[in-house]
């Protein structure tokens, strides 16, 4: 009867087994304590039941030894569980270096995805097996949450701020993709599939899909089209700071503080240029809020990143 009725999810990422072992250990502990409590309750309810000729209650007020015992035992168990789960937590929240960057934009009620090689998809994410992949995600409206149960990972997708998650798939197949944060009328239809493919199948799929331009080429074109290059010329004495070789570096600000030149800072500077002005420059930049969508800002970020990547012809930091 239970054939075909799933009771346990697929396990298809590098850390999903670690999560499952932890889960099963907790299930074991829970069954033990639930049965212990149930057995004691049933035993006492029968053994000490009120009946004709029973001796009546023996007044026992308590026991310091017992109280200490059942304070210490749960404390030790939960602390051990805390340490174990925190190790898993850091595995899942810390991406490996050089994970491939994919971009995700959530909006009511769809997922827009762009591959590093430029392919765009909606509600479907094709990924190669055995490659660490990082998703950089942002929402155009309300809070969503990108959830792939088979990988045991989810992360809220916020408006106005990037969030990231990473995974490395271990098994080819098609898996559920859900929005896990309630986002309005069609929340339960903001779903899709994650299709994990063998490397060669993925390459074949990439060449078959309408490749379009890579995010950094799009970004480069936007950079010119929005006239960013009139100020950010890269020459000494320009009205805007030079952007080459800057990625990941600390930038001195006019108020004396510093900021890391990264995705969040770039996005903020495009939308609210007045927020943080680079030391030695006047605040001249206009805001691009309302003129650039989240997808376009992500393309600009990809382009600015490439300016600091020697492998892509960018300047060394």
């Amino acid at each position: 009867m239970w054939k075909g009725i799933p009771l346990f999810p697929d396990s298809a990422s590098t850390y999903s087994d670690a999560v499952d072992y932890f889960y099963l250990a907790l299930v074991g502990i829970s069954i033990f304590f639930t049965l212990l409590i149930a057995a004691l309750v049933v035993l006492f309810a029968i053994r000490f039941r009120a009946r004709e000729g029973s001796a009546g209650a023996t007044q026992i007020h308590g026991s310091h030894v017992l109280e200490l015992f059942w304070t210490a035992v749960p404390l030790v168990i939960v602390m051990a569980l805390f340490v174990w789960s925190t190790k898993i937590w850091f595995t899942i929240t810390r991406p490996p270096a050089h994970a491939e960057q994919y971009y995700v934009t959530g909006k009511q009620w769809m997922w827009k995805i762009q591959h590093p090689t430029g392919q765009r998809e909606i509600n479907t994410l094709h990924v190669p097996v055995n490659v660490p992949i990082q998703l950089r995600m942002i929402s155009e409206d309300v809070i969503h949450s990108f959830f792939i149960p088979a990988f045991r990972v989810k992360r809220d997708v916020l408006p106005g701020r990037y969030s990231t998650m990473w995974f490395e798939a271990t098994k080819a197949g098609t898996y559920h993709l859900f929005c896990a944060e309630y986002c309005g009328t069609k929340h339960s239809q903001m779903i899709g599939s994650v299709i994990v493919m063998e490397q060669e199948d993925y390459q074949r799929w990439l060449s078959g899909a309408a490749a379009g331009e890579t995010p950094q080429v799009q970004g480069e074109k936007l950079f010119a089209a929005m006239r960013c290059d009139t100020c950010h010329t890269g020459q000494p004495g320009a009205r805007g700071p030079k952007l080459q070789g800057l990625w990941g570096q600390k930038v001195d600000l006019s108020d004396g503080s510093t900021v890391v030149f990264n995705e969040d800072y770039v996005r903020e500077s495009i939308l609210i240029p007045t927020a943080k002005t680079v030391a030695g420059f006047q605040q001249l930049m206009p805001t691009y809020a309302g003129q650039l969508g989240e997808d376009q800002i992500l393309s600009l970020i990809a382009y600015l990143k490439s300016l600091s990547d020697p492998a892509q012809g960018g300047a060394k930091p």
């Binding site: 026992i60 007020h61 701020r161």
Partner: protein, 562 residues
Amino acid sequence: MSSTVQTHAPHAHSPHEHSGVAHAAEPKTNYLTANYGWKSWVFSVDHKRIALMYLFTIAFMILVGGVFALLVRLELATPAGDLLQSENYNKIFTMHGVVMVFFFLIPGVPAVLGNFLLPIMIGAKDLAFPKINLLSYYVFLVGILLTLTAAAMGGVDTGWTFYTPYSSTYANSQVALAAVAVFITGFSSILTGLNFVVTVHKMRAPGMTWFRLPLFVWANYATGLIILLSTPVVAITIVLVALERLFHIGVFDPAYGGDPVLFQHMFWFYSHPAVYIMILPAMGVISELIAAFSKKRVFGYPVVAFSSLAIAVIGFFVWGHHMFVSGQSTYAGVVFSVITMLVAVPSAIKVFNWVSTMYKGDVLLSTPMCYAIAFLGLFTVGGLTGIFLGTMGLDIHMHDTYFVVAHFHYVMVGGMVTAFWGGLHFWWPKMFGRMYPEAIGRVAAALMFIGFNMTFFPQFILGYMGMPRRYHFYPEEWQVLNLVSTLGATLLGISYLLPMIYLPWSLKFGKVAGKNPWGAKGLEWEADSPPTTFNFDKTPIVTEEAYAYPEGARHQPEAKVV
């Protein structure tokens, strides 16, 4: 406990001495018969009458929230959204949450049982501020009327959590009205909490020291403190949402320069302690039931009392465990997780002490005790599954799935609601002077236990497989488990309807109860059933600790119905 009014003969073990017949001989008015007419009720400042007004109001809200629950489960019997449109489905689960949380789970035990019993248990005539008590009821009623108005005018579809910026900017429904309703209802809680705290400090009868207080009083005292400290925060939060929604003042929506995660911090700073507002009074009820039906002092009384306070204090520092994947810092998550682990300990201590109370007792499995035992099982599962969600590595996967739904129903419905029914049966003879029918009471309790597990256990499995909560459509392979859950919910619904039928029936046809039908200790069992308006003819003088059952204490033969 207390042997009280010294002129009374000791009678704890002889309920027949106070049979109804004896009372019929010398007719005496009680709080129900003291005066008549609708004005004597709507303007009453008697804590017992106010408790009854709360009881009937809350019973109505249980039915309303129950109908919404039924619609949700009916819809989920099939994977396609074929019964309701998504818009309406979202409004229905929102209303289910709002009604049950704000109009049943939070006020259920304190406003009904606490209001009725707290003054009697400490030997007082009434709460410290009777008029504020009446005010709290009317504030509550206004909150209900506004909520029902919001429902009638098109409903709310934000979920009971009102997350921004969906609620503040995007939702196209009666969010502002519902927010005002919740805001107003919060003041009802605050007034009740204030009343309880002051009453416990100032109104205890002579000799009623802190460590002679029944644990139900301790639990309500701890709850009062949490209400006073946390409820104002949710009130402020709601005002900010309303300001953003009405005047576009940027607080939570990044489009206006706000921070959407800020709302979650403020919301859970109230709503996590609110979970303890719901469960602590229920734990107090369980202490009373297990002591009375084991004929024993609660094992480790001071430990149980202080564990309530420990839960109240630690409960303020765990709110971030609702936000592990929401974008708060990785290290903030670590801190919230370890504090969450700590709060598991006092809960575990309570369970072990309750079980130990039964050891070498004289255990009578009457209906209230059946509910108490059901509580022990369901609360244990609810508490243990809380550890799953408090451990971050696992919560990344579990967050916002049906595992969470199952967990909080085990704690809230399996815990608080079970204790509410147990307490209501236990004190029913005190409140109305009549016994409920025992046999059908036990059947209802057993049916509840079966129906409950059938409804919510499959949801743990669905949750681990990844079924997100608040889903109208779901993948077909999960239908069987959902169907089991829906069938279980039907049984559960029936088990909750039964007492709503036989309890009112007993008001006319039930056996007359007498002062102390259970032979239990506690000042409330030395007052008349139903009590007189001022509870005691003479202020009791307390000379014993709570639960002062003698060695060899036994249930009277009349109490043993089976």
